[in-house]
């Protein structure tokens, strides 16, 4: 439907006290994010950084992620799937080939979440998938959950 008249923010995006305490949920402190859309990357930086206390590094695509990681190993990667230059799936494959990043959880964020899409992402080694659009005010908590679940998963 495209005839909705009132387009005020959904209630789930309104300010909410969901940001504290995150670190108690696990050891998630540093996140590297790859997102080519400047509006979404700014939103993610705010939601994970200033509002949730995580250390966030934003990259415009997968190639930038690979340039960052030798100097900055995160606890988790959050990758958009569709990006120019290097998409999320290829970035994940490259990260898995590198010993220092092979075991770091990788979460995809994407609007393509049909069952066959999800099957594809997990077959490629994704730790989890966050569907777009997502609620920025609960993003940090969801990442902490996925990170904690991954830590407790059998090897």
């Amino acid at each position: 439907m495209i005839d909705q008249a009132d387009d005020q923010p959904a209630s789930g995006v309104a300010p909410s006290p969901t940001s504290i305490p995150l670190r108690a949920a696990g050891t998630l402190r540093r996140v590297v994010v790859a997102e080519d859309d400047p509006d979404i990357s700014a939103l993610v930086a705010l939601a994970l950084g200033r509002l949730s206390g995580l250390e966030v590094t934003i990259c415009a695509n997968g190639r930038a992620v690979l340039e960052v990681v030798p100097h900055h190993l995160p606890d988790l990667f959050l990758l958009d799937v569709m990006m120019p230059e290097m998409d999320g799936v290829e970035t994940l494959a490259r990260l898995r080939l590198e010993p220092s990043t092979a075991m770091i959880p990788v979460i995809f964020m994407t609007a393509r979440v049909r069952p066959r899409d999800l099957e594809f992402y997990f077959a490629k080694g994704a730790t989890g998938v966050i569907a777009k659009p997502f609620d920025p005010m609960t993003l940090a908590r969801r990442l902490c959950q996925l990170h904690a679940e991954n830590r407790h998963a059998p090897a």
């Binding site: 495209i2 387009d7 923010p9 959904a10 789930g12 859309d37 920025p136």
Partner: protein, 116 residues
């Protein structure tokens, strides 16, 4: 007393950028007639339909994440139409996209008015 919106500055920037995106979409659609929908296999040149679809996809994703569902739905509808044109037609007819673009422009105007 309501709490201040921590996303207020980003929302303002997003709405301004959305206006630019919709103007870019308008330019692409207005310039589209007579362009082939798809170029030859192997070429990296982007067709008008593909460019419209990509721009609309970005707008849809960002709008939804900011909580602007109606804007996101309109952008997603435009993306779907553009992808269908890219896939199915040997020539790209932008005419069916115009009404959706008008809806998008109206949504942006509503958002701008609500923040004025």
């Amino acid at each position: 007393m309501p709490q201040p919106d921590p996303l207020a500055d980003l929302r303002a920037r997003f709405i301004a950028r959305s206006r630019e995106r919709v103007q870019n979409l308008r330019s692409l659609i207005d310039a589209a007639p007579a362009q082939p929908a798809r170029h030859g296999a192997g070429t990296k040149e982007v067709s008008a339909a593909a460019a419209i679809a990509r721009l609309a996809h970005q707008l849809a994703g960002a709008a939804g994440t900011f909580g602007y569902a109606a804007l996101g739905e309109a952008a997603a509808a435009l993306e779907d139409r553009a992808r269908a044109a890219e896939d199915d037609a040997s020539t790209f007819d932008p005419l069916p996209l115009t009404p959706i673009l008008q809806v998008l422009e109206a949504r942006i105007a509503d958002l701008e008015a609500s923040r004025a």
